[in-house]
Symmetry: C2
Subunit: 596 residues, 2 copies
């Protein structure tokens, strides 16, 4: 089956437009799009890069806070890691950096008792980034990109909704200026935290929330009404977060911290120093499971986003190269004191809608962020946590898609169950556990289904050479001939089912002489199914019934030729078409079949 | 798909020959075959029952010893449990009772440190039987019979070979009259056991071994030469074990135990008293995992054997009813102080070849065993353990099929890897662990494979309405039309792959206007695939390409009608045949496609 796989196509393409940096282009896709890069492209990229940077500054700080890390970690993660992706990524418009879901997963990992006991959350975050990078690298080496398919869309949606709901919960205290709640059932603790409630913070928080909402669709509609250029509209609408942050900080500066409003606090100026992550084996061991799930989700989300944007422009994503690119980005995040990164949905969409043509846009955004962390770090000291909470809440709420459960339920109960159990699992047992539960449920349902393949007894539609299910169409059948169409690959999962099916069919055809298995849809037969077929031949022979095959595909035939099956089949034959089989085997004079 | 399931057929049959004990017949299949039972049948059943009983006496004792239990346990397990199966089983010739693989699994379970600490191995064995019975009952209630399909043949073979090898190892000491070896790396222990080596035992053991081998094929050939009736030949050849046992015991009796040869020792006379199994929760908890695997293997082996024999006579096995029957048999084993039971291969084949027509044969065998345990128990005291070891070795060795690994390897690497890891797992990590490893490896390989479905770009074979893979046949294609045949159900497992495939195909058709997905082999679409199709429609539209479907099956169409997909598909259409699609969409004037 491999000659039709995209990998093959890919290499075939490479062959077609072979050039000096052909091999290089595979590892550094930048080569393929840098050629033919025009000044016009550069113009759009500059604009898109600027817009994206304006979003990334507050977002980076906010997601660092969400992950329970110092503000600069989010900024560092938005500078060098994206540059690695610029060189190695196959998506031209995806923006890599800190993302909300990964952030909450990091927060969960860091707050786990064993990990918390280690102290040094920053060190742990860096280890998480390093481990995720290595895990993604391993997946790339073993070409295991496809395995993430097993996070089905319903599970992913359920997971995202659950995680988003957790994020909302985690941001309420910051928004209202309450001290962080870890009260459990200790009511006095709650009352204390309520006592710590800060009206001014709440006021600013709500205000920021409202203005952010207004900055989005309403402003967009207004400007469209004024007939502004679309890219400018997108640009202006995305300045919401930065405005909220700036206004907030300015107010704090003027009021001189007298209202003890919670702020981000001073952060070190200048670019991050590159240094290797901490190497305490114990910490690596403890963090591994979290790193694994973070890597999985980072990859799944990034590829999903990359594919959407790429297909809009008829470009292509190489899933395996993406593994390498994301691995590199996360390793770079670990080296430059950042947090685990991925392709973010909001940041990518901003970049894309602002007209980014290539990764040059991200290059420019990264440079701007570098400038910010070198020159304007003083400003960060005054950033209000409540504004950041508002930014997170506005960014996160759209991810909570409970209605989707209903839609899925109407179409596929099993999928809906998987989605619900993931969602519930995340809320009840925690983020990683929820994801694990979801995957397990999906796989069980899948195995259950594949163990009941679609198998049909077919007959010939008179005056045609078409054979259809006798249950659905008026077709001609013959008492001495049974035509069975197997509609799925034959594997251990359904071989037993086929056996049962044939056993119970032959019972009803007392005059049966020939059984023909039609392999139109069979492109793979494993050794369990092979044994089953051999048993079938023997036992049918015992009843003086001959087994035949029809429409066996090329690759299947090749494999069967390597076995004794075809010789065992004698006197049974392999027919090219079902029609030929019917011609050769059917008795034209009908015999009234009796049922025992 | 369910209207084609055997269950349905089954009920349809029941409807056809509806009679007063129709419902009853479902639960007590005995009804269906007892009507029309002739004196002639009874004759053959009596003979078969006698032959089987002659085999079962030594085998029962031997397998009890193999499981590390008192001799009578094996006999008790051969009396009442088979009777339950006689009434409830759907196989007419399968012989249920103690089997070698289950026996070694019991031995492994009982010798596990935690369980051994409990003492009372007999009580534990009874709990194992009770738990297996209950587990099988649960599987029956939830109709989970199909799930055991996930023990593929290679895994089963690897498991059996591994277990058989362990059995051989376990019987060597008994055969040579060494004390049981649990020495590990303590060499003095080995030397001691060698000191305990008993030349006379060894002599008798080897002698029994040789005579058992001679009793099998050589004797068979000899008698055939003499032109004896086949059933008689089978009968005589199966007397080997009993002869070996009897001769051995007689010698012991005459020599009056002076050579201190290891014997079975006295066993209580009379039938077992029915009583409930012990109810210490701790023991039940500890034994559960073992019980689970024993139940699984018992069911898989029984159904496999039942199917083989049933199909020889054009009879049918209802897998779910088998669950009930085996569950009942094991519960009865627990009540009557026996060990877990299953359908044994050797015993069933003896019964079948001796000409058994119905379960009456097993009824008679059970009655004969009942007579034996009531009247002749004194004789058992003198049975030599070495003779029993010889019987086990001869019975077990054929189960070691190492060559099969090579055969499987030639046909399917993945299956071979599963078989090897199961075999190795059993030897290195233990019986249950090995089985678990095997199942895990199979599932991983399966998921890996299904994530790369067979997808082909097809074209029309000139002057026909047949469409074939453009890679394999000389076919007509059109620059504005891409025909893609999806050869598997569309699920989360392969939706991403389809996406990649289409993405990389459209890249190569610069003049593309229409993409047609041909669903000949698609009988199921899950919600992940549904979303993928919706994304495809959008993104293709972005490139001014229209997506169409062709040959959508009835059930799939029904499901799609419940969604928005078909309305989203507009202006794309759903064509009845690929030919119609090509007719409607293809530009006849060929345009030379350039590759970018």
């Amino acid at each position: 089956m491999h000659e039709e796989s995209p990998k093959f196509m890919n290499s075939k393409l490479a062959l077609l437009n072979s050039s000096y940096c052909q091999k290089l282009r595979q590892w550094l896709p930048v080569c393929s799009w840098l050629r033919g890069y025009t000044r016009k492209d550069f113009g759009s990229d500059c604009f898109a890069g600027l817009i994206t940077a304006i979003l990334l500054v507050p977002q980076g700080v906010a997601y660092a806070m969400l992950a329970g890390l110092p503000a600069q970690v989010g900024l560092y993660a938005s500078i060098l890691p994206p540059l690695v992706y610029v060189l190695t990524g196959t998506s031209r418009t995806m923006s890599v950096g800190p993302v909300s879901i990964a952030a909450i997963m990091i927060a969960a990992a860091l707050s786990a008792p064993d990990v918390a006991r280690l102290g040094d959350p920053l060190g742990s975050a860096i280890i998480l980034a390093a481990e995720s990078g290595l895990i993604l690298l391993l997946m790339a080496l073993f070409r295991m990109g496809t395995l993430v398919n097993f996070i089905s869309h319903p599970v992913l949606t359920g997971f995202t909704s659950g995680a988003a709901l957790l994020i909302v919960g985690s941001q309420i205290p910051a928004l209202l200026g309450l001290p962080k709640l870890h009260c459990g059932f200790d009511w006095s603790c709650y009352t204390n935290s309520i006592a710590g409630f800060n009206p001014l913070t709440t006021l600013i928080g709500i205000a920021s929330l409202i203005s952010l909402v207004l900055f989005d669709k309403p402003l967009n509609r207004l400007l469209t009404g004024l007939g502004l250029k679309q890219t400018w509209i997108t640009g202006l609408c995305k300045t919401g977060p930065i405005c909220v942050v700036v206004i907030g900080s300015v107010y704090v500066m003027l009021s001189g911290h007298q209202h003890q409003l919670a702020t981000v606090g001073a952060i070190p100026a200048g670019l991050p120093a590159l240094k290797l992550p901490p190497t305490h084996f114990e910490n690596w061991r403890l963090l591994f499971p979290s790193a694994f799930f973070i890597a999985l989700i980072a990859y799944v989300e990034s590829v999903a986003i990359a594919k959407v944007t790429a297909r809009f422009r008829k470009q292509r994503i190489d899933p395996n190269q993406e593994l390498i690119a994301l691995s590199g980005s996360n390793l770079m995040a670990a080296l430059s004191g950042g947090m685990p990164v991925a392709g973010g949905f909001s940041r990518t969409m901003v970049n894309f809608n602002a007209g980014a043509v290539t990764q040059i846009a991200m290059l420019i955004a990264a440079l701007l962020l570098a400038v910010v962390v070198t020159l304007f770090t003083d400003g960060f000291a005054h950033i209000l946590k409540t504004s950041l909470a508002a930014i997170i809440l506005v960014a996160i709420t759209p991810l909570i898609k409970l209605r989707s459960i209903l839609q899925v339920w109407q179409f596929d109960k099993a999928d809906a169950i998987a989605e619900i159990s993931t969602f519930g699992g995340v809320l009840l047992f925690g983020i990683e556990q929820g994801l694990g539960i979801g995957i397990a449920v999906t796989l069980l349902g899948y195995l259950w289904r594949t163990s009941q393949p679609h198998i049909a007894v077919v007959g010939e539609i008179p005056e045609t050479q078409h054979f259809r299910n006798i249950k659905r169409h008026q077709v001609e059948t013959w008492p001495n001939l049974l035509l069975i169409r197997v509609d799925e690959n034959m594997t251990f999962a359904n071989a037993g089912y086929l056996e049962d099916f044939v056993d119970c069919e032959i019972e009803q055809y007392p005059y049966l002489q020939h059984v023909v298995l039609i392999f139109t849809s069979v492109s793979y037969i494993d050794s369990t199914a092979l044994e089953t077929l051999e048993n079938l031949i023997d036992s049918l022979a015992k009843n003086r019934i001959t087994l035949h095959f029809a429409e066996v595909k090329g690759p299947v035939m090749d494999r069967l030729q390597a076995t004794l099956l075809l010789s065992k089949l004698q006197p049974g034959q392999v027919f090219f078409t079902t029609h030929e089989a019917a011609q050769a085997l059917s008795q034209r004079e009908p015999v009234k079949p009796e049922i025992e």
